[in-house]
Amino acid sequence: MEVKSSTNDRALTLALRGELDHHAARETVTAMERALEAGLPMQLVLDFSGVTFMDSSGIAVAMRASRRMAALGGTVAIINVPAQAKKVFDAAGIACAAKTEGSK
């Protein structure tokens, strides 16, 4: 999994590229946490446009992102989600939760 980060104001964007399964999840989370610690952003944007496959391991990554951003008092947005990954989010019923949880 390739994770590219870019910062704009207090928004941190992480662009993921590759297959987000259990095998790739750990390095994705490590990269995410490192970027969060370095940037302490108010908003985290996960750009999924390069995610060619995702299973429920990706949901765990999204839930993790939500919790971390909630702890920072910020928000998470997951954008450009391809059809296959969207179906997995929808089946899990957290498509909206992952987007809004951090803002409460």
Partner: protein, 148 residues
């Protein structure tokens, strides 16, 4: 009496996470002869990934073990996938199948069985603690007109 499949593949592999991608790709390549849509192929890959990941993560938490994968095609364009392990087993299968139930901590979502269930037409889970688990999934691939 058992109904014989029209075709099948069988693979054994070690419970290394790098094999997750291999397993779902192998089943997708085999399923291609049923002429599935991209959407159907995505569902199949996702369900295989969930079952195989469970065998890798949960069945053999502290060791490497054998995983068996079998994909078969039956009359009526039905694809059956069986993922088998000889690991620790599941004490309470009904509980394990509940959404959000996980023994895997922060790294897991507890949505694996829920996704297998919603992406496939049938999901059967048989397990014996200390002996292992067999997950059987079925999905009928729609026969589309206008396709060769």
């Amino acid at each position: 009496m058992k109904i014989k499949p029209n075709n099948y593949i069988a693979l054994d592999f070690l419970s290394r996470s790098v094999n997750e991608g291999f397993a779902r790709t192998a089943v997708a390549a085999f399923a291609a002869q049923l002429d599935p849509t991209l959407d159907e192929l995505g569902d199949i890959k996702t369900a295989v990934s969930e079952a195989v990941t469970n065998a890798i993560v949960h069945a053999y938490p502290d060791e490497l073990g054998k995983i068996g994968l079998r994909a078969s095609i039956f009359d009526g364009n039905v694809l059956e996938i069986v993922v088998r392990d000889w690991g620790c087993g599941i004490p309470d299968v009904n509980k394990a199948r509940e959404p959000l139930y996980t023994t895997g901590g922060e790294e897991r979502s507890g949505m694996g069985f829920t996704i297998m269930e919603s992406f496939m037409d049938a999901l059967i889970v048989r397990s014996k603690p200390g002996k292992g688990t067999v997950v059987t999934m079925k999905r009928r691939i729609a026969q589309r007109s206008g396709r060769k």
